[in-house]
């Protein structure tokens, strides 16, 4: 049985213009079905407005779909009883793109990371502190950072704290919503490396939501492409993606920038070799 199963999820938003009366329906997710197995990473790529983040919210239990089911370890997350929901929340964590707005600016790193521990595990103060330090060290920070506030960290460091908070309860699945998109290249590759290590260490599964195809490929086992609320393709290898004939995928692929100036397509210059 897969860890997460998404079955025929449909979601539309309704809006009504003031004074114009007519209801407008905006279909955001259209008949989405997929599954994530334990210990694997599914990369979800698509342009902005494709519905990637909405799908992430549906999986996290924040946005109830009108139709369809989200099964986590076999339990329907929208129709489970309180105790089960409590248990599911522990195993389902999230890391967002904007690391600053994902933390409370008045909390120290220690309080940020110990929040999930306080909610789920009854630890003594000493034990809790030890766990926080362990987690900080696991994500590449150290004991000294425990008393620092969010503004004292760089974006990359703060994203590490968000990751530490997400892995504090040893979850099964982490939704990574554009988690590395706003970081510079070097930091980005370090965070991706960390995520890869954590995946192997804890047997984590990821849903990696991004518009960055290269980043998605460096971490994902499978790739799904979302276009205008529809899951258009699902791949098990890079080559499938690179040779796909689907127009949406082709468009995405054509927007990938050259990796070497020799293969540039936007600017062509006589003096370029």
């Amino acid at each position: 049985m897969s860890l997460l199963q998404v079955k025929q999820v449909n979601l539309s938003f309704h809006s009504r213009k003031l004074f114009k009366g007519k209801d407008q329906t905006n279909k955001v997710l259209n008949d989405i079905s997929f599954a994530i197995d334990e210990g694997t990473c599914l990369g979800l790529i698509g342009t902005s407005g494709a519905g990637k983040s909405t799908l992430g919210k549906v999986i996290l239990g924040i946005q109830r779909p009108q139709q369809g089911q989200v099964l986590f370890q076999g339990y329907d997350i929208y129709n489970a009883d309180k105790a089960t929901q409590h248990k599911i929340r522990r195993d389902l964590q999230v890391v967002f793109q904007d690391s600053y707005s994902a933390v409370n600016p008045r909390m120290t790193a220690e309080r940020i990371i110990s929040e999930p521990l306080e909610n789920y595990e009854k630890l003594t103060i000493g034990e809790q502190r030890r766990r926080v330090i362990e987690l900080l060290e696991r994500v590449g920070l150290n004991e000294k950072d425990i008393k620092k506030y969010p503004h004292q960290f760089s974006g990359g460091q703060l994203q590490r704290i968000n990751i530490a908070r997400a892995i504090a309860l040893k979850p099964k699945l982490i939704v990574l919503d554009e988690s590395v998109s706003s970081l510079d290249m070097v930091t980005q590759s370090l965070i991706l490396q960390l995520l890869n290590e954590l995946k192997d260490d804890f047997g984590l599964s990821y849903l990696f939501i991004t518009h960055d195809i290269k980043a998605a490929f460096s971490i994902s086992d499978h790739i799904a492409v979302l276009e205008k609320g529809e899951l258009v393709e699902h791949y098990h290898s890079k080559d499938q993606f690179l040779s796909s004939k689907h127009p949406a995928v082709k468009r995405l692929r054509d927007s990938i920038l050259a990796e070497h100036p020799r293969f540039r397509t936007i600017t062509t210059r006589a003096n370029m070799g």
Binding site: M185, S189, R251, I256, L257, E259, R264
Partner: protein, 276 residues
């Protein structure tokens, strides 16, 4: 890339220090570069390496109370460093255009795009409102923005980030500046908008002969656009090279690290087969 007379923009021995209560601290030092007409100079470096400080110094946007800018910045032979704010205002937007990372913050939300577009044109030229509007629409058409009349009536929040960035570039281009500084112009955009914005920058370069200082940490953007590249780290230039040379034969440790750590779609054994 020696600094010489043919450069449109020339920066020589730039030092920027910030004054604090505990003495001054150096932000960037020994910055030397020049850009020739119609060329794109890429500026690469990690966050905090001084890329933005450098570009803000060129525009003299630092608060002189707290910042000490030394060295020479010349635009077509004219010294900019130390220029009165009044004089600088004539240059900003007209001779040197600036494109920011986040287009949402670059527009004011309370006026329409058209209002802001026309205001920019009117403050730098003698055109009246009607002529300014015509110019705005002309430029927007030439950069393939769909339906410019409608677009001018919209408010910034009604447009997507990619669209807004293209309007921003059209606005920057309409006065045909000799230099354009683009600070991470595509970082906040998705792949497809990124492509459109980069194409647009190239069009402006080839049509108006604008020299562009392109700041980015994305080596993809650099490899597509730049003619020459400077690499910054800890407030210093650590490497300056032609773009091909930089990718083929990086000299500095940091450049090598940048090239090594970037994610790639293609395995080392069969490089770039898809591109060929």
């Amino acid at each position: 890339m020696e600094a010489n007379d043919r450069d449109i923009l020339n920066v020589k021995d730039l030092h920027v220090q910030v004054k604090t209560d505990e003495g001054s601290s150096t932000l960037v030092q020994d910055i030397n570069f020049g850009i020739k007409k119609g060329k794109i100079l890429g500026l690469v470096g990690e966050s905090g390496s001084g890329k933005t400080v450098t570009s803000m110094s060129i525009l003299q946007l630092h608060d002189k109370k707290y910042m000490d800018i030394r060295g020479s910045i010349t635009l077509q032979g004219r010294e900019l460093n130390g220029l009165e704010n009044k004089e600088m205002r004539k240059i900003r937007g007209k001779d040197i255009a600036f494109i920011m990372q986040n287009p949402m913050n670059a527009f004011t939300p309370v006026f329409t795009i058209g209002h802001q577009f026309i205001e920019t044109i009117k403050s730098h030229t003698l055109l009246n409102k009607k002529q300014a509007k015509e110019l705005a629409i002309d430029v927007m058409e030439s950069v393939n923005l769909p339906d410019p009349y409608k677009l001018l009536k919209k408010y910034p929040f009604q447009l997507s980030g990619g669209m807004l960035q293209r309007v921003m570039i059209a606005m920057a281009a309409c006065l045909q500046p000799s230099v354009m500084i683009a600070d991470e112009p595509t970082t906040a955009l998705d792949l497809h908008s990124q492509l459109l914005v980069l194409r647009l920058l190239d069009k402006i370069r080839s049509e108006y002969g604008t020299s562009i200082l392109l700041i980015s940490h994305d080596l993809g953007v650099i490899s597509e656009m730049a003619d020459d590249v400077i690499v910054m780290q800890h407030g210093r230039i650590v490497e300056t090279a032609n773009v091909l040379e930089l990718f083929d034969n990086p000299q500095h440790e940091y450049t090598k690290k940048l090239l090594r750590t970037r994610p790639t779609l293609y395995s080392q054994e069969q490089p770039y087969t898809y591109m060929l």
